[in-house]
């Protein structure tokens, strides 16, 4: 049984439905990746899983428990951490304060996690006292992922973590994500860089117009003729 199951999700932002019955599954300790064209509803599916979007139909199960009706803040307490696609840092606060905000709900000592994050993203240690709004795009993404890591999550949701990041940093970021997975965290990623993302994915979902087009393991999708032609550029 999967750790997270978004089942036949239907919903949108008030107008026409954006999600038309798509399903997403993430197994415990695995990486699942959603790819698809712009506007397919990838971010929307992620918001639905977090509870930021009210579903008309379908349900969300976490660990076998129905969480469809639970508020996003409650889901954070259940161990879900989200890195949004945009506005994902506190611009007017320092890197350190951003990370501390991630640990806002925690009562235990956060120094251990903080050191883990600094080990994962050494540049954050150097820029600890700098305002997040003054960092480069790639550094900001690292702050955003770091903030999410500070919640000590069981389930990490990343919406295009490599957006605006140079190829070198991108590869590094994917490696970091693998490292995070190896600590036992289940991860769901939305990615434009489909090839890299699918190569670290255990499961992949191709979303088009709010429905599942193709699903399979990462390597299955990478070798699928249709996927190659439409999303991987040949």
């Amino acid at each position: 049984m999967s750790y997270l199951y978004g089942k036949n999700m239907v919903g949108g932002y008030g107008g026409a439905d954006i999600l038309n019955g798509c399903s997403i599954k993430v197994n415990r300790g695995e990486i699942a990746v959603i790819v698809g064209p712009n506007g397919a509803g990838k971010s929307t599916a992620m918001k639905a899983i977090l509870g930021l979007l009210k579903l008309k139909e379908g349900k969300i199960e976490l660990n076998g428990q129905d969480i469809t009706k639970i508020s996003p803040q409650e889901r954070v307490k259940y161990g879900m951490a989200f890195v949004p696609q945009t506005n994902n840092v506190f611009n007017s606060m320092t890197v350190r304060e951003n990370l501390e905000m991630g640990a806002h709900l925690r009562e235990d000592n956060i120094l251990n996690t903080l050191n883990q994050v600094f080990k994962l993203f050494p540049v954050l240690k150097d820029k600890e006292k700098q305002l997040a709004g003054e960092l480069s795009g790639g550094q900001r993404q690292q702050v955003a992922v770091g903030r999410a890591m500070m919640t000590n999550p069981d389930f990490l949701l990343l919406d295009e973590p490599t957006a605006g990041v140079s190829p070198i940093v991108m590869n590094e970021l994917f490696e970091r994500i693998l490292e995070i997975k190896n600590t036992g965290v289940s991860i769901l990623i939305v990615e434009q860089n489909a090839r890299q993302a699918l190569s670290i994915a255990d499961q992949g979902f191709v979303l088009v117009n709010g429905t599942n087009k193709i699903s399979g393991t990462g390597s299955e999708l990478l070798s699928n003729e249709n996927v190659r032609r439409s999303f991987l550029g040949g």
């Binding site: 977090l50 996003p72 803040q73 954070v76 307490k77 951490a81 989200f82 949004p84 506005n87 994902n88 840092v89 506190f90 611009n91 007017s92 606060m93 304060e97 501390e100 905000m101 991630g102 806002h104 709900l105 903030r147 919640t151």
Partner: protein
């Protein structure tokens, strides 16, 4: 030629009529603007009821002061109002929370646009205004007691032998000290404590703060308590320094908003800087410099007029002018607050 003594006299004159009054008035504006800026930064609307919240807080201070005076409780050379202030802060905070729960909460939960909240605050403004007039009346109330001066102009002249004296009223020193302490505590709270950081995070990026587990109800509550506290302190200091009249507090809204917007609305440090700039502008532009120039210039060049840029009747026009200039040239203010 003017002698050294003339020059010193000229600056003593300026200190007495510009520097000292502007520092205390600036402190009062700074405290008022801090409240406005916090409400704007966290709750995201311009609270037009802030001036009348100041009047309400001051009224409570006055009522407690009268009560303590009738019981013969006092602080010796300090005004009794200082003793009354903590009680007024508690009651005014409770009053602000009642208003939040009964008026603003509804619009916040409905995610109403800021302009709706602004209009609601105008309604609240009229309501508080009526309550204050109903309880204490529309007239001037003086509630200052204790030692009036730290240094009288005459004493200053005697000590220094100058012909110009610098008078320092105890309310001016109290204003400065209380402002320094309040501002330092506020900045410590915002920058060093977990709750303060959560408030800044909420103001910076509400969605992300919620995703970090920040409890919005708690943040809103604390914001109102701080705003009410600052309003009560600012109002009481202003009332001690001048006098308390409900209508004056409504009028203060203009320089207070000008301070907050000039500094960059949403920016606490901007509110403080803005408060002093507005106060200095108001007083410097309406001061008659005739005597100042008589000291400095040779007799042949002595000014014949008052050398006053604007009559004191126009002092509010200065705030208004600065406000317009800022909104046209740099709407985000000095410290880059959120643009309105």
């Amino acid at each position: 030629m003017s002698t050294l003594v003339d020059i010193i006299n000229a600056f003593a004159l300026l200190s007495n009529f510009v520097l000292v009054p502007a520092i205390s008035y600036g402190s009062q504006l700074a405290l008022g603007a801090l409240g406005v800026t916090l409400i704007f930064g966290i709750l995201r609307f311009a609270n037009f009821a802030h001036g009348d919240l100041m009047a309400f807080g001051t009224m409570i201070t006055i009522l407690f002061t009268w009560w303590f005076q009738s019981l013969n409780i006092n602080l010796g050379f300090l005004p009794t109002a200082i003793l009354a202030l903590p009680f007024a802060i508690i009651l005014t905070s409770m009053f602000a929370i009642i208003i939040e729960k009964s008026v603003f909460r509804f619009y916040r939960l409905n995610k109403s646009p800021p302009v709706i909240l602004l209009i609601a605050s105008i309604g609240v403004m009229f309501m508080i205004n009526a309550i204050v007039r109903f309880i204490i009346g529309p007239n001037d109330q003086r509630f200052f007691d204790g030692e009036k001066f730290i240094i009288r102009a005459g004493e200053f002249k005697e000590i220094t032998g100058l012909s110009e004296g610098i008078a320092i009223k105890s309310t001016q020193v109290i204003t400065l000290i209380v402002t320094l302490v309040a501002v330092m505590l506020l900045f410590y709270f915002l920058n060093r404590t977990k709750t303060g950081k959560a408030m800044r995070a909420f103001s910076d990026n509400e969605d992300l703060a919620l995703l970090s587990g920040v409890n919005p109800d708690r943040i809103v509550l604390i914001t109102w308590i701080i705003a009410a506290t600052l309003a009560t302190i600012a109002g009481t200091l202003y009332g001690l320094d001048k006098s308390f009249k409900p209508f004056t507090y409504f009028m203060l809204l203009l320089p207070i908003f000008a301070s907050a917007i000039l500094g960059g609305i949403g920016s606490p440090i901007g509110a403080v800087v803005g408060g002093y700039i507005i106060a200095f502008s108001e007083i410097m532009l309406t001061y008659a410099y005739k005597k100042f120039f008589i000291y400095l210039l040779p007799d042949s060049l002595s000014p014949t007029g008052l050398v006053q840029l604007l009559s004191t009747d126009y002092k509010f026009a200065i705030s208004f002018l600065i406000l317009v200039i800022v909104l046209v040239l740099r709407p985000s203010g000095i410290f880059k607050g959120k643009t309105l």
